[in-house]
Symmetry: C2
Subunit: 497 residues, 2 copies
């Protein structure tokens, strides 16, 4: 009996280890075999991670389970976060045109430029305009009279206070997010107000150029070598009132990226995903699809495809637009789609079915895919088609889809090894920067204790693999990334100086 | 081209419908074929559900996304909730001995009985004792002097206020749960205090008997015909100080259930799952396993198996107890396990591995399994072994594992059709009653708009199928349930009078 007993115990332990190994192999990065130096780096990373999580368990204070606005300062003190900041993260595949550079710069730099006017809408939201001669007086129901900011600031007793108030209107940050934004409507309303407020600044040609450059700089400093920007390509204006069209904007993005690459070793570039808003009528979206095809034909290197942005719960479902979205295929034109889909908690609604239509419409990637794990058939088919999701944890938390990021539904997908990349959506509006904050949430929150250096490496490689770069471009990008990865690993393995 | 185009659109719509159907078929209950009357009832239910969800989307107020304490009143006004209250739910498979009957009764009835004394611990928690002659003075460091409640109440200017304060110490309910319980430690501390406080009441033999009866009554009124109670079987005492052992308690449970069945048509009975606390040393758990085997041998109809209860994050992982838990198998004795496992947000920790060990140890069911969807290998194997999880949404929310129940990780399992039952854990401590509140959360929150009458029917049938009843007992239970189900469906199909 003792022998049987022993045998039983052994086989149980074996079964247990097999299960543990299977799960380890399944998770994102689980198939990667690390080099010796990577193993040592992983050992150090794992030790730091475990210590942080043990401490969090003890104190009850764990950044991924707090609201980002309350977690940010804590995060910045974390050893793991500081490693993630140094980690070469590859590419940022889900970021929006005017959410990539610190809002602080808009206040401190853009609004301080000459000929900057502002007015207040009846709801008290600021609007900006650069003009010389001064702009014509707006309609009373739209905005107050234009006031020259330079002159206005001179009359203020406390300019810093005014500048801070501007900054507050440019981000969602607040000390009590739970109270300030009691529901999704409230946070989305403020979110839209931000982009409305800054539009007059960022669409002024000189600011537009500098904004792109600064955005690239912030991501580059955060170890991101390539970006794909969802861009609305709104008209950009000059001081004298001249207005530029979309092609001018695309060329300006291209020029800014080229200039940036010249002065920033290893930088690979940017591509644009032309985007329109899903609140628009079908007929307008038909035109936008047409525009997307034209832009892609004219700038095959720069325009990667098309997307529909804006709040899914209140916008048109993709299904409404199916006729428009099938135009390219019916004409034999390839227009890759990068649809936002499944950014909802309302399971079973028409917005929730966007995931299904993104799959049916052969979306190249899926933006967010927050609801994907609740759609097992779409999940399975999208996996078969190798359609990755772009997970943006902080965005999902700030926009009130989930509070404790350990419960982010993509945690399930991460555990199964579903193809994914981590991105930051509109970091500037959330008070974040680059990708590191979102990587921290994904690594510590979604991934749990089991996510390790393999996970991070896979996520970084995924960002190149699933990008819209050509095969040749990908090869170059991967080599550039690998070189930096080796350096990062060597430093991490060496330990603290 | 027009033909191709048309063909394309058709095949796309077909593919879309196939996907929708696949997901519909996959979800819990998706395989059920409804009778004509059920279809009509389902139509009405779906219409009411959709109206409620549309209204919630509009107002931003949706009970499953609110804390239960703030959602309860709203829920009670819901038409769907009132249908769920009438629905024959089958069995409650995950409830604890002293969490099943309203705490209100303990205050208003138990503490008003003669010879009821109370004292206050140094931390201010009340302790109770029935005794005649009066109980000996407690050690000073443990409790204040015993005070006769009858006498004490006579001296009070406001008895209602005192009674309400007692009630507050007996439940977790509070107006501001987010502030009162800032983290899991705080809510678990209070949770433990509750059971400590009521122990002197519920373990007094006359109260013990009545408590069981009342608990059954509350579940019966909520259309529950059978219960499996996790029971600690602590000593029960008489007024004269006599103390009863576990066997007396089992017999008393049996007698109470028999008496109850006689006066409550259709009531099937109860079984016990003897439970010990996972904070205890291995040697003590060895003894408990022994005790469980003995109890099951003596009361094969009453004692279904064994479980370990208490907070997983701070208790011993199952793996620590493996030697003790393998004793029955090594002796060729069958002792079914019903382990609480995966009641944690700390993915990858030793507590989180309880799920794995519950599987390895052939647990008959899994209590909570909150973390299961993050363990794809355990998930797959447990499914193959047909091990259901007992989902207790309100418990998980109140104990701060998840806030918005639409993000409950079992939503994923529900969408895939993983075997599960809905239960209420300790409804009395959460201010809930029976199973209806938890069914509402599961149906509206976890299930989303897609969950329908099929889902509910499957969940009810699962509760019988996965119970510890014998095959013969299950057949009887299923027939009793079906009869009631037909009546419920007929009424629902008929619509409002
Ligand atoms: Zn986005
Ligand atoms: Zn329990």
């Amino acid at each position: 009996v003792a022998m049987t007993c022993f045998h039983l115990a052994t086989s149980r332990d074996e079964a247990r280890n097999r299960l543990l190994t299977r799960e380890k192999m399944m998770q994102v990065g689980g198939q990667l075999v690390l080099q010796e130096e990577e193993e040592r780096a992983n050992g150090r990373l794992r030790a730091l991670k475990e210590a942080e999580m043990q401490e969090a368990k003890r104190t009850g204070v764990f950044p991924p389970s707090l609201h980002f606005f309350q977690a940010k300062d804590l995060m910045e003190k974390s050893a793991v976060f500081n490693i993630l900041k140094k980690m070469p993260k590859g590419a940022a595949l889900h970021v929006h045109d005017f959410g990539i550079a610190s809002m602080d710069w808009l206040v401190k730099n853009a609004t301080y430029r000459p000929h900057c006017y502002f007015c207040l809408t009846p709801k008290g939201a600021p609007q900006f305009k650069f003009a010389s001669p001064p702009p014509p007086t707006p309609k009373q129901e739209e905005c107050s009279e234009w006031v020259l900011l330079e002159k206005f600031r001179k009359g203020l007793p406390n300019v810093t206070e005014f500048d801070n108030s501007l900054l507050r209107t440019f981000t969602l940050m607040t000390e009590n997010p739970q109270e300030t934004y009691a529901n999704q409507d409230m946070v989305w309303n403020k979110f839209k107000t931000i982009f409305f407020a800054i539009s007059g600044l960022v669409n002024y040609a000189p600011v537009f150029r500098d904004y792109i450059f600064l955005g690239l700089e912030e991501f580059y400093r955060d170890q991101v070598l390539y970006l794909e920007l969802r861009a609305m390509l709104y008209p950009v204006y000059e001081l004298n009132g001249t207005v530029h069209g979309r092609e001018w904007s695309v060329r300006t993005y291209e020029e800014a990226a080229c200039l940036f690459a010249k002065t920033h070793p290893g930088f690979i570039g940017i591509k644009l995903i032309y985007s329109d808003n899903r609140s628009k009528d079908v007929s307008l979206i038909k035109k936008s699809v047409q525009t997307a095809m034209e832009l892609r034909a004219k700038f095959p290197q720069m325009v990667a495809g098309f997307d529909l942005v804006g709040r899914e719960d209140t916008g048109h479902p993709l299904y409404d637009y199916r006729e428009a979205l099938l135009i390219p295929a019916s004409r034999g034109v390839k227009l890759p789609y990068f649809f936002h889909a499944g950014e909802t908690d309302w399971q079973g609604t028409s917005a929730d079915r966007n995931l299904l239509d993104a799959l049916i419409l052969n979306s190249t990637r899926i933006g967010h895919g927050f609801a994907l794990s609740r759609h097992p058939a779409v999940w399975a088919d999208a996996w078969r088609k190798d359609i990755p999701i772009e997970v943006c944890p902080i965005s999902n938390q700030v926009l009130k889809l989930v509070s404790d990021l350990r419960n982010h539904p993509a945690a399930v997908l991460m555990a199964t090894g579903y193809p994914m990349v981590i991105s930051s959506d509109d970091p500037a509006a959330f008070g974040a920067k680059g990708l590191s904050y979102d990587f921290y949430e994904a690594f510590m929150g979604l991934g749990g204790l089991t996510a390790d250096l393999r996970t991070l490496k896979q996520l970084a490689m995924n960002s190149i693999r699933y990008s819209a770069l050509s095969e040749t471009e990908k090869k170059v990008a991967m080599e550039t990334w690998e070189e930096r990865w080796q350096r990062f690993v060597a430093e991490l393995a060496r330990g603290p100086k």
